[in-house]
């Protein structure tokens, strides 16, 4: 196997783009919370970037991508990056150093638990968050990544199409977010008034940076720098734009005003939905996927509000439902005209692919619910998941970190 310098440069650059998404997520979430919790919210993303970077090289990559054990999990043969060197690995990326692929995948493992943090924002104890994130990455993310992407994984063998993480990243984080919101309970004051975002401009900036980084997320998943990466780039941008337009239009019709935050959330929903499909659909498919994301994710938020679940930053609606729609849509609109290594979907004469996608969706939902619930209960035995009422009222910036985000807060 010969290393291709163009492919290697693109994958390393893509890894850097995906890395940027995690602090971008911190700003996206940080703008949506009240000013007394902004620093703690940004800290969730920043801390996970550090935590999973170490977990991944120690054992995470081995569990997710190491030699297969019973089609369920990777073995421990690659712990500490043993056997993960600078020569290519034929199973995953035959034209780039194995460590470049490992690094690219690390950034996916980083952002996924960071996504969940939006559900328990403004009320989770930091120590509980640390324990939860480490356990969740090990026992929920790594197994699902192996099922779908690992050589020998059972969903991989079944023929699941997930180009960049609709099931592995978005369904797992979105569904886990719903479980976390239910287990932790509502914030003090929930339902008595609106928790206004403290800085909408920060949120829009975060969404723009997420959009930018997502080109590495999806187009980088081609693991080459040629035609497939170009196609993934084009459909990613198209679906994102269409979802933002659709969400804004739906909210304009529903709330009688075009929401700026709605347009930003719609863009993120489009990015989520096109993620599993980005290497398998054409640009017309991307428009339909973007439109669907704008409608179903907006509807999911209305449902979440109606049933009064305090998923603080709507992780379930955007990532759980957006990821589910994207994974299903991949089974509808995939075409081998885009990727010969993929498969045709329902609208290209292969209804079986839609059924395979449903199996992958069900498995991802199921393991995320079971694993997250068990981990939260376990962590709660060690340290209370929630801060006390007085700490919540004071704000997590001061109660958990002893630092205000803005100087004037401490003066009040």
């Amino acid at each position: 196997m010969k290393i291709d310098s163009g492919d290697t440069a693109w994958v390393l650059m893509s890894a850097a783009l995906v890395m940027l998404m995690t602090p971008a997520l911190g700003f996206f979430y940080g703008g949506l919370v009240r000013r007394k919790n902004v620093l703690s919210t940004i800290m969730h993303s920043f801390f996970i970037l550090c935590l999973i970077s170490v977990q991944w090289v120690l054992w995470g990559y081995s569990l997710a991508f190491g030699p297969d054990k019973a089609h369920i999990i990777g073995g421990l043969d690659w712990v500490g990056l043993n056997h993960v060197g600078l020569t290519p690995n034929a199973d995953y990326a035959p034209t780039i150093p194995h460590q470049a692929y490992m690094l690219f995948q690390m950034m996916f493992a980083v952002i996924t638990p960071a996504l969940i943090s939006g559900a328990f924002a403004e009320r989770q104890r930091f120590k509980a968050f640390v324990l939860f994130s480490l356990l969740w990455a090990t026992f929920v993310y790594d197994p699902i990544a192996h099922w779908v992407w690992g050589a020998g994984g059972w969903l991989h063998n079944l023929g699941t199409l997930d180009f960049a993480g609709g099931t592995v990243v978005h369904i797992s984080s979105g569904v886990s977010a719903l479980v976390a919101a239910l287990v932790l309970g509502r914030r003090i004051g929930f339902g008595q008034g609106k928790f206004e975002p403290h800085n909408a401009t920060m949120t829009v900036l975060g969404a723009c940076l997420l959009w930018f980084g997502w080109f590495g997320f999806n187009a980088g998943s081609a693991v080459t720098s040629g035609t497939l990466a170009t196609s993934a780039f084009v459909v990613t941008n198209t679906a994102t734009a269409m979802a933002a337009l659709t969400w804004m239009t739906v909210s304009w019709w529903h709330k009688r005003q075009p929401s700026v935050l709605g347009a930003a959330a719609g863009a993120v929903a489009g990015l989520v939905a096109i993620t599993p499909a980005s290497g398998f659909v054409n640009v017309m498919g991307a428009i339909v996927i973007g439109f669907g994301a704008g409608v179903v994710c907006y509807a999911a938020i209305q449902l979440r509000e109606r049933i009064r679940v305090d998923d603080a930053l709507d992780v379930w609606a955007v990532h759980g439902i957006g990821g589910t729609w994207g994974a299903l849509a991949t089974g509808l609109f995939a075409t081998v005209a885009i990727n010969t290594a993929g498969a045709n979907g329902l609208f290209y004469g292969n209804p079986k692919q839609a059924l395979i996608q449903l199996v992958a969706i069900g498995a991802s939902w199921g393991w995320s619910i079971i694993g997250t619930f068990a981990i939260l209960k376990l962590v709660n035995l060690i340290v209370p998941l929630r801060v006390g009422e007085d700490e919540e009222a004071l704000g997590l910036d001061l109660s958990q970190h002893g630092e205000p985000a803005y100087a004037d807060v401490s003066a009040f």
Binding site: R34, R35, K194, T249, I287, F291, F347, A393
Partner: protein
């Protein structure tokens, strides 16, 4: 045209023409009730 293209065109038409019938003036703005446990600064008179 294949079904995907037909659906994509239908979705685009729906969104683009939808703007024609949407409200063109903002509704009357009511100040939102903001939940906050933060203390507010107190006015000090001389």
């Amino acid at each position: 045209m294949d079904p995907t293209t037909i659906m994509a065109i239908a979705c685009s038409v729906l969104v683009f023409t939808g703007w024609l019938v949407l409200p063109h003036a903002p509704k009357t703005v009511k100040p939102a009730v903001v939940v906050s446990e933060e203390r507010q600064p107190v006015a000090i008179s001389a």
